[in-house]
Symmetry: C2
Subunit: 256 residues, 2 copies
DNA sequence: CCTTGAATATCGGTG
DNA sequence: CACCGATGTTCAAGG
């Protein structure tokens, strides 16, 4: 069931919203296109002057305000917010309120181009691959890609300064700390690795502990810094593969 | 100008899109509500099974796919993508393509609940306050809030390990490094601060350099770590204020 | 162009 | 609930 009206007045919009959305807001998304201004107070504070935007109120209470460009919403409310509509001085007003953290957003419409309400059924979960976990898994299942004779003994090893992605020993039984970045390695990754190596030196009471930064891309400046600290690096390929189960589905579905 | 159709066929949807969106895609946003499946390949790879979603194609080429819950789009294409529509086996297909980085998304619809196209005019820019800059500004204009006799001499001081938020001297002329976090202080903030203090010690050739971490919230674990490294902390209030110019606008606009 | 760091980040996992 | 780290992070600013 989907309903919509075009170019309507505030009071008609309110009637429409009360009829098709209000009583079943948790089962019905609401969509408004109109000329509005927005005031937000919460973790920060913002004000957005008049302009034509798309507003979506989702079934979990989240609210999105989208300008005609940009991937990101210009304003929003988090999941779990409560929305309320009213008309004042012939202007439609949408108030959204969130409890913890306290956040409220007030949207005032002076023109309404479209209002639509729809019950949406969607139980599908996104199947995705190509993230850092995959890089870590790849190294675990194939440690010689980093170095011959490398043996991984622990994943997500907690030390004083944080959490080591991968820990193991090289062919000479020297401890090796591996920090994995899924894309660009930054200076802070070097600092992290340096801390971890020092932590291990104290923990194991060994003078020699190797530290290796693994990432698909490591800028020269970062390499230089690694050198200064007697750390190592290895540029790794990030491969994007879906599990076999999806491969078949994908194959049938898409021949791009 | 806003146009829409409800519960239509693929070929009618295509006709609608060609008439009201295709020729002027850079000036018209397109909105589709329908039952679709999505295949994405680019920086990662993903597959999303059938389900009812909202799709928005914006005037800058960005594409958003929203499920009925969650603030985040389940799939998307970045600004600058090119979209193309077709009908195959009576299914509407939307392909979106982005060049750098290479990313493509294929959306196949088996039912269409709503298609809407609209020219949106929005020149407004978001006025916002409450960010890290504001916390830094607050400390600059009111350093005694951190400590009596503190004098800030430099903002954004570059050192080997990165950039110091605030640098100054205490009442005993001892150098003070201040790291500011706008919300939660993390372990990495401690590591950052520690690096900066060491950098300054080398630069100035002084044995004593103080380091203070300033944040609205500092977990006990982080405080403990700061203690271990002989660093200090100060929990600061983050006040959210818009510049005076907007205050008036806000006052007139909203009496929440 | 590349690099860096903030964000009303959001979100999921873990203790 | 607090905390922690990844994200197809996105985005803006600076070199």
């Amino acid at each position: 069931m989907t309903y919509s009206i075009l170019n309507t007045t505030s009071s008609n919009a309110l009637k429409f919203i009360e009829k098709y959305h209000k009583s079943k807001a948790d089962k019905t998304i609401l969509l408004i296109i109109g000329d509005c201004m927005i005031d937000y107070r919460g973790r920060a504070r913002s004000f957005l002057d008049w302009g034509e935007r798309i507003i979506i109120i989702k079934q979990d209470g989240s609210v999105l305000v989208h300008q005609p460009i940009m991937r990101e919403p210009v304003n929003w409310q988090p999941s779990g917010s409560k929305t309320d509509f009213s008309v004042k001085d012939e202007l439609l007003i949408l108030r959204s309120h969130h409890t913890r953290p306290p956040e409220k957003m007030k949207t005032t419409f002076r023109a309404i181009k479209l209002v639509a309400a729809s019950k949406l059924y969607d139980k599908a979960k996104l199947l995705i691959s190509g993230m850092e976990t995959d890089v870590v898994n790849e190294i675990i299942s194939n440690p010689e890609a980093i170095e011959d004779g490398l043996r991984i003994s622990k994943r997500e090893k907690h030390v004083k300064s944080g959490m080591i992605d991968l820990f193991g020993y090289d062919c000479n039984h020297i401890p090796v700390v591996i920090e994995v970045k899924r894309s660009l390695a930054t200076i802070s990754a070097v600092q992290q690795l340096r801390m971890y190596v020092n932590d291990i030196k104290k923990d194991v009471d060994t003078a020699i502990v190797r530290g290796i930064l693994c990432a698909p891309r490591i800028p020269d400046m970062v390499k230089k810094l690694l050198n200064d600290y007697d750390l190592e690096w290895k540029e790794v390929e990030r491969q994007i593969v879906l599990p076999d189960d999806y491969q078949k589905t994908l194959k049938e579905f898409s021949k791009q």
